[in-house]
């Protein structure tokens, strides 16, 4: 029978080894308690017998030394468990970061993913460092204490034996509720993060639309939902540990009452020594709560397992998504050799559920081409394919005479400057944005050629300005010109531009067209997606995408 997938699968061999060590030390600590209990029991028995000599101090010192050893074992155990958790989380984070940055067209919000990477992955830690060791303690320590108790009194051992096994049955029932509650909580965390990142980005619009109250009400719904979901998880957790405490309390109380009656001589069965001695009574009384302790630890860690299972389900679902990564690694690579040309042969691509066939293209090095067609016909898709951001479902794309593959994509992109329709500006200075690899090339000349020199001159901090995420701080036309300046700067031999004149006034658009012409005159290949008649006319050739959708 294939095991149901759970968070346990995430624990690989190396953390497993650490966890075994952790369990071992926990067992050492558990094994020391009967000795400590024995010393207390002996001392109290001595008191009752009127033996009040200095031997009690020796017992007390022994108790303290054993206590210190126990504390040290506990610490080592906890440290190993922490290391195991740390390793598992680091591994999962690495897997996540190896994969996700290269998969575009996410259905999940960036903030939702980031919450998974930080907040939710961290929820694996208590499962690994608390639940797993508690589970292994539960398997050994109660048995050890039952054996110790049995050595003194079989009735007391029987009481523990009856109270103990009821607990796992109950916990299994709680476990199912806990899993569901945790899954809902995880979903709600993602929801709230996704809504927030969107609403924060749209705050200026929301305010202009006088929709702040409504938007906040949506957010309040999510925040309140998260509170309810979190509380539901906690309620299950509190309930399960309370029930366990009740079981433990009843068990301990019964043992205590049995000991009391035995000591009074009213009960004479159940113990090997008749009657039970005071020392023996104290000894098993001190063991009884510790018998239940691993079970209680397990109960209070029960919802940790549920949370971890929910997180691991989410990780698995993400891993199994069928989105293909972009071609290549998105890394710097030496420029691909060969002429800066582009060919599409029988390319089709599945985007948004619809299969879209693209016309065959032959764009020679140094040629300038306008891809024309109405909005939504696939102009941007074509540029994405040419830049290796999308994988064609069929057909081949040849760049510089070679197939565009994982091996060639980064090297091809090193020769490409892409001017997208909308820009996301990372939180860096304008200088670093324009020259991401610090080439030290002549920024001023590039800015001048893109007619963007005046924009930078007008910014109070010039090239050291940090722009807003969507380019706030400069107008739409200015942001576009800065992007063009970057294309000039990078010395790219292939310019892919998505509507480069879209938000420029006529005069500036004409300048940009002229600048693109300059690039062409230098022998660079220029491909623009546009429906601007002026821009189309300035290109060598126009390819119409109409009717191909």
């Amino acid at each position: 029978m294939p095991a149901k997938p759970s968070a346990r699968d995430l624990i690989t061999d190396s953390p497993k080894r650490l966890l075994r060590q952790s369990s071992l030390w926990a067992l050492v600590s558990g094994g020391l308690w009967p000795l400590q209990a024995g010393l207390i029991a002996w001392t109290v028995a001595q008191w009752a017998a009127g033996e009040l000599g200095p031997a009690a101090w020796a017992a007390a010192a022994g108790f303290a030394v054993l206590g210190a050893l126990r504390a040290a074992s506990d610490r080592i155990s906890a440290r190993r468990a922490f290391a195991a958790a740390d390793e598992v989380i680091a591994t999962q984070r690495r897997i996540f970061l190896d994969r996700e940055p290269l998969r575009i067209d996410r259905s999940r919000s960036s903030a939702d993913l980031a919450a998974l990477l930080s907040e939710k992955l961290a929820m694996l830690a208590p499962y690994i460092s608390r639940y797993t060791p508690a589970m292994s303690r539960v398997r050994v320590i109660p048995l050890l204490f039952i054996a110790c108790t049995f050595y003194v009194s079989w009735i007391a051992a029987l009481i523990l034996l009856v109270a103990g096994p009821l607990i796992p049955v109950f916990m299994a029932l709680v476990g199912m509720a806990a899993k569901e509650a945790s899954e809902k909580q995880m979903a709600q965390i993602g929801d709230m993060n996704a809504l927030l990142i969107d609403r924060i980005a749209a705050l200026p619009d929301i305010r202009l639309l006088n929709a702040a109250d409504r938007s906040r009400a949506d957010f309040a719904d999510r925040a309140e939902g998260l509170r309810k979901r979190t509380m539901a998880v906690l309620r299950v957790a509190f309930l399960s540990s309370t029930v366990l405490e009740l079981f433990a309390a009843i068990g301990v109380a019964m043992v205590a009452v049995y000991i009391g009656f035995s000591l009074l001589g009213e009960v004479t069965i159940g113990a090997w020594a008749t009657p039970l001695t005071l020392g023996e009574g104290i000894f098993i009384l001190l063991l009884a709560p510790e018998f239940f302790q691993p079970l209680r630890d397990l109960a209070s860690a029960w919802h940790d397992k549920a949370s971890a299972d929910a997180v691991s389900d989410e990780l698995r679902a993400l891993a199994e998504e069928t989105r293909a990564p972009v071609l290549g690694l998105g890394a710097v690579a030496p420029r691909l050799s060969g002429p800066a040309e582009l060919r599409f042969d029988g390319v089709s691509v599945n985007r948004g559920g619809a299969c879209r066939a693209l016309p065959d293209l032959r764009i020679a090095a140094g040629e300038s081409v306008a891809i024309r067609g109405p909005s939504g016909v696939g102009k941007s898709t074509l540029l994405d394919l040419a830049a290796g951001l999308l994988r064609p479902d069929s057909g081949t794309i040849l760049v510089a005479g070679q197939p565009l593959t994982d091996e060639t994509a980064d090297a091809w992109r090193a020769r490409v400057a892409f001017v997208p329709q909308s820009v996301h500006v990372p939180d860096i200075t304008l200088r670093d944005f324009l020259d991401p690899h610090g080439s030290g090339a002549d920024l001023d000349a590039a800015l001048e050629r893109a007619r963007a020199g005046a924009i930078v001159a007008a910014l109070p901090q010039g090239l050291e300005t940090r722009l807003g995420e969507t380019g706030a701080g400069v107008s739409g036309g200015e942001a576009r010109r800065l992007l063009l300046a970057r294309a000039f700067l990078s010395g790219a031999e292939v310019i892919l531009a998505d509507e480069p004149t879209a938000d420029l006034d006529r005069a500036t658009a004409a300048q940009i067209i002229a600048a693109l012409g300059d690039l062409r005159a230098e022998g660079r290949t220029v491909v623009v997606a546009s429906h601007d008649a002026g821009l189309c006319a300035a290109m060598d050739r126009v390819i119409d995408l109409e009717g191909r959708a």
């Binding site: 749209a202 200026p204 619009d205 929301i206 957010f219 000591l263 890394a331 909005s375 007008a458 879209a502």
Partner: protein, 557 residues
């Protein structure tokens, strides 16, 4: 630390009644736990003594054993109640705090909002608020309860047992435990701050990378991003490891302290029994209570170790809003607008925000209801700034703007937005359905109205093809092309049905045929409104009743 105090008051005040009951139960749980073990130890020892003395029959076993059962069950129930009450009250307070933070963010100056990085504001409302949940739950309540419990235990032990035993326990725990915990607080302050900062940086970095993913891939900087994220993660892990080392070290120190205190009580009890001050059963109370009180100090270290993280989070959560232009429309009283007056600008001069260049000077104009004005001018000439000023987003340097006959300064902002709407040059859509995006502007939108407005902006076919109003959009409206997003944002603004409609490049990114259809649609949808469009395109200029070139108003340099 005064900030933590403010946070504690805030959490407490969300539901003071539940919190005080929870706090009372916290103390009850600890006292019952100590009483339970003390009573059990006394009971067993006393029965043992009675059995040996042969007076077992006379010994009252029922009251003590009932007491043991009551304490055992009562404690479990009290703990359940305590946890439920305090957690519920805290989570309520934190949910309310998130909403308050959102509300405060909305009131930021528009300029600051436009430059705001979503990821950092997000971590404020999520991670920072989450970090504060321990202020009451793991710090204030358990510390206060521990101190109270020790006071009660001291009084009870000196009454039931003996002063030396009571004093050993109280001094041992309060001084010894106090020292260990203070040391934990001092040593963890820095790493706990560092761990949280690195974790938040990782989260912000991941959001930044995912939001700018295409850009990062195209520039070949994915490995650079990755290296930064890895560095943050390594920093977080190192700090967390450091914290765990301190935490487990403190746990060990506290356990040793418990063993020492118990051993001390074991040791000093013998001579006290010998002196006849107490009997063996009473001595057992001391030993068992000493063991039980471990529960008061062991859990404290976790809350104390979070002090640095909490303090920083509190500081960020309680931070003041950024400085910037005071809101223009900040009146309190509702004005009496006159729709016939339309829009009037009287001798208006503008300065570009944050720039040194002079802008527009001496601009006067008026636009009557049902008329459209097209404003042209080169990029950066001040078209957007002028629209911002008319929309009361930024102040004018001189002159006056009147909306429906009322100067902007005499409007309360929400009231003004009911009559005047601005479509900025850049607008953000929301994840969700097309309908969600429209409903944000008009709650309870009917299908007919939605279709009407989508038709006006020539988007109805696109929406139909995508599956109608329920068609899902990704983050920030991802899934639509540039032009489609633009038109959906426009539709959203039109749905406000403002008397004054300001449009900044409304047809940007549209082919001229669509652009013409959209401009005609706008006028059809709002025939009685004042429309002012900043534009460089023919589509708007052709349809406009009046045209204005800003060139004339730019002062010579």
């Amino acid at each position: 630390m005064t900030r933590l105090w403010r946070i504690l008051r805030l959490i407490w005040s969300a539901d003071p009644w539940a919190m005080s009951r929870g706090a009372a139960l916290t103390v009850v749980v600890l006292i019952m736990g100590a009483a339970l073990l003390g009573l059990s130890g006394w009971f067993i020892t006393a029965t043992g003594l009675a059995g040996v003395a042969g007076i077992g029959i006379a010994f009252d076993v029922f009251r003590p054993s009932a007491g043991v059962r009551f304490l055992a069950l009562g404690r479990a129930v009290a703990r359940y109640g305590e946890r439920l009450l305090t957690h519920d009250a805290t989570l309520r307070a934190l949910a309310a705090l998130r909403i308050t933070l959102m509300q405060r963010l909305e009131l930021w100056p528009m300029e600051a909002l436009r430059r705001l990085r979503g990821a950092s504001a997000l971590t404020r409302i999520t991670a920072d608020v989450d970090a504060l949940d321990g202020v009451a739950l793991r710090l204030a309540l358990p510390v206060a309860a521990a101190v109270i419990t020790h006071a009660v235990a001291f009084v009870m032990l000196s009454w039931l047992v003996a002063l030396p035993v009571a004093a050993s326990i109280a001094v041992g725990y309060l001084v010894g435990g106090g020292l260990v915990l203070i040391r934990v607080a001092l040593r963890t302050l820095e790493p706990s701050t560092r761990a949280e900062a690195a974790m938040q940086a990782l989260r912000r970095g991941a959001i930044g990378l995912f939001r700018g993913q295409r850009e990062a891939i195209l520039q070949g900087v994915v490995p650079d991003w990755r290296a930064r994220l890895d560095a943050e993660e390594a920093a977080a892990r190192a700090a967390q490891d450091h914290l765990d080392r301190i935490d487990t070290g403190a746990g060990m120190a506290l356990s040793v302290l418990v063993a020492l205190i118990t051993a001390l009580v074991l040791g000093i009890s013998g001579p006290l029994i010998a002196a006849g001050q107490i009997d063996a059963a009473e001595a057992a109370i001391g030993v068992f209570v000493a063991l039980a009180l471990a529960e008061t100090v062991l859990p404290l270290r976790r809350g104390v170790a979070e002090l640095g993280r909490m303090r920083d989070a509190a500081e960020r959560v309680l931070a003041d809003r950024p400085t910037g232009a005071e809101p223009v429309a900040a009146a309190v009283r509702k004005p009496a607008p006159d729709a016939a007056k339309g829009l009037e600008l009287i001798d208006v001069s503008l300065a570009h925000p944050g720039r040194s260049m002079p802008m527009i000077r001496g601009l006067s104009l008026s636009v009557a209801p049902g008329e459209m004005l097209a404003i042209s001018g080169a990029s950066g000439a001040g078209k957007s700034t002028l629209l911002d000023a008319i929309a009361a987003v930024t102040p004018v340097a001189a002159g006056e703007i009147r909306c429906l006959g009322v100067p902007l300064g005499q409007w309360p902002e929400p009231e003004l937005r009911e009559h005047l709407a601005l479509l900025p040059q850049r607008s953000a859509l929301l994840a969700g359905s097309v309908r969600d995006n429209l409903e944000i502007a008009r709650p309870g939108l009917s299908d007919a109205e939605a279709e009407e407005v989508l038709r006006a902006v020539a988007l109805h076919r696109v929406v139909e093809m995508r599956g109608g109003l329920a068609a899902p959009l990704g983050e920030g409206g991802a899934g639509l092309s540039g032009g489609e997003s633009r038109r959906l944002a426009l539709a959203r603004t039109l749905l406000r049905r403002p008397e004054i409609l300001l449009l900044d490049e409304p047809t940007e990114g549209l082919d001229s045929e669509t652009a013409r259809a959209v401009v005609a649609g706008i006028r059809r949808f709002l025939p009685q409104s004042v429309i002012v469009a900043a534009t460089h395109r023919a589509a708007e200029a052709e349809v406009a009743d009046t045209r204005l070139d800003l060139k004339k108003y730019i002062p010579d340099l």
